[in-house]
Amino acid sequence: MSGVIYAKRPKISGDVRELDTRFRTIDSTVNQLKVYMSGSGSVRMQKVEEWGDDKEIIDIAHNLGYQPFFAGWFKLATGSEWKKIPSRITTLIGEEQETFFSAMGRPSDNILQLHFYTISIFGPMYDIYLDYKYIIYVDPYRDAW
């Protein structure tokens, strides 16, 4: 028989072998989400003409051959508040507000994308950077065991 590895949550009493799985932090008998790759970077957002906007796409090749779980975050390079991808950050550019959106894409089983964009052509001219971080998991979002 194969051995098992269990670890339980701090302050949970009892024999780890008898606990509900949710009280174990490590459990070799069930699948735990595993980080396959993570990364970070900055993307320049620039509105170069009146009545325009900007869209920046970052391709991330994971080459897993299936669709993995994903999580990502972004913030203004000049700020300290991080938000999830997808979501939006509104900030002042001069005296006008602009909203920067983040999103993700799954164009193939080997590539994930990060998307950053604005949608208002009426907003101010801007030239800023957004910082991002992401995690791509080993585990597929379909039929993980």
Partner: protein
């Protein structure tokens, strides 16, 4: 050579199987869930680190019955977790659409960092760690923090029949459920918002992906659509590249390496997992019949619902009044999701930073 710590799914060789068949491995980091914090109003609390931690946020749609879904509006900085209570639609009818505030938000905080800083918790009792470093986030595995553990996976399919409630319009809700019976609300995937307007999704993503007229010199990313000015034909990029005459759709010698002919999406067969890629665009959404997709958990079930909202006949005042929109049926449609349910409980505060 350093040792390895690997555990695999039963029946699979730990040293030979694909990583996705492993329970865990010292080759792959496990997220370190440090804290779960519930909010019932907008607000902030200290998270306990001196750096911005990775996090997830879920919305509690209602507390009784308890319903939780993705789409929480949280954020973090180097000191605090910020929560903003969102809202959801409660009446989907065309002429009386109403919303209500969510009953709460749950924010999940990892020890893993987004910004620089330091933290190492005091260890009480035996633990398992893999890796080394001055901070807990340096460890690949740290049993002092929780991990996401898969409970069950499967597919839910909703086959919503055609809906025609006549000139008055109306709402039809069709539901598919999986009984997890855990007795609490578990984490689940995919991480798709609780409530998605299908019309907005297809309209906005279609507009967003459209990169208009094919132009030499532009970088086209996989998934973007272009049209040819001379023929009006649409194409979808399949390999990110810089456009040139050699890869121009239909006339470039290598065009089939870079482009597929555009295929209209089947808007009556929707894969919920795909909705993670939603984009926002101003306007362009049909205003009459509409379909919403709801995806959430209760303490006993994972729920997928299709809400078909049929617009009634719309008359404009006049003498005599005149019909500007005549009702049409909501077509039958299929919506399906490949789901993952985890053992982890959402609706309970957790603090593994100080424990």
């Amino acid at each position: 050579m350093r040792g390895k710590l690997i555990a695999s799914r039963q029946g699979y060789g730990a040293l030979t199987t694909e990583p996705k068949n492993l329970a865990f491995s010292s080759e792959f980091e496990l997220n370190k869930i440090a804290k779960i914090k519930g909010f019932t109003a907008d607000g902030s609390v200290n998270h306990g680190f001196n750096y911005a931690p990775k996090f997830l946020a879920m919305k509690e749609i209602s507390s009784s019955p308890l319903k939780i879904g993705w789409g929480g509006i949280g954020s973090v900085d180097n000191q605090k977790i910020y929560a903003t209570i969102g809202s959801h639609i409660t009446d989907f009818s065309y002429d009386n659409q109403t919303s209500a505030d969510d009953s709460g938000e749950w924010v999940i905080i990892f020890a893993d960092n987004l910004s620089s800083g330091s933290f190492k918790k005091t260890i009480k009792g035996p633990i398992i760690t893999v890796g080394h470093g001055n901070n807990d986030y340096n460890y690949k595995i740290h049993s002092g923090y929780d991990t996401f553990k898969v409970f069950h996976t499967g597919r839910l399919t909703v086959n919503a029949p055609e809906f025609d409630n006549g000139e008055g319009g109306g709402v039809q809700i069709t539901t598919a459920t999986y009984n997890h019976n855990l007795g609490y609300c578990p984490f689940f995937g995919p991480f798709v918002d609780y409530e998605v307007s299908k019309n907005a999704y297809y309209s906005w993503n279609g507009q967003y992906n459209s990169n208009n007229t094919w132009t030499a010199g532009i970088i086209y990313h996989i998934g973007e659509d272009v049209w040819l000015e001379d023929t009006g034909e649409w194409f979808t990029c399949k390999v990110t590249h810089t456009a040139s005459n050699s890869n121009r759709p239909t006339t470039g010698a290598e065009w089939t390496t870079y482009w597929n002919e555009y295929v209209e999406p089947n808007v009556y067969n929707t894969y919920v997992n795909k909705l993670e890629d939603i984009k926002f665009v101003y306007g362009g959404v049909e205003e009459f019949n509409e379909t919403f997709i709801l995806y959430y958990v209760t303490t006993t079930q994972l729920v997928l619902q299709v809400v078909q909202s049929q617009a009634p006949d719309v008359w404009l005042e006049g003498d005599p009044p005149y019909l500007v929109y005549e009702h049409t049926p909501c077509p039958a449609e299929t919506v399906y999701v490949d789901y993952t349910i985890f053992y982890n409980k959402i609706n309970e505060e957790l603090d593994l930073i100080s424990d």
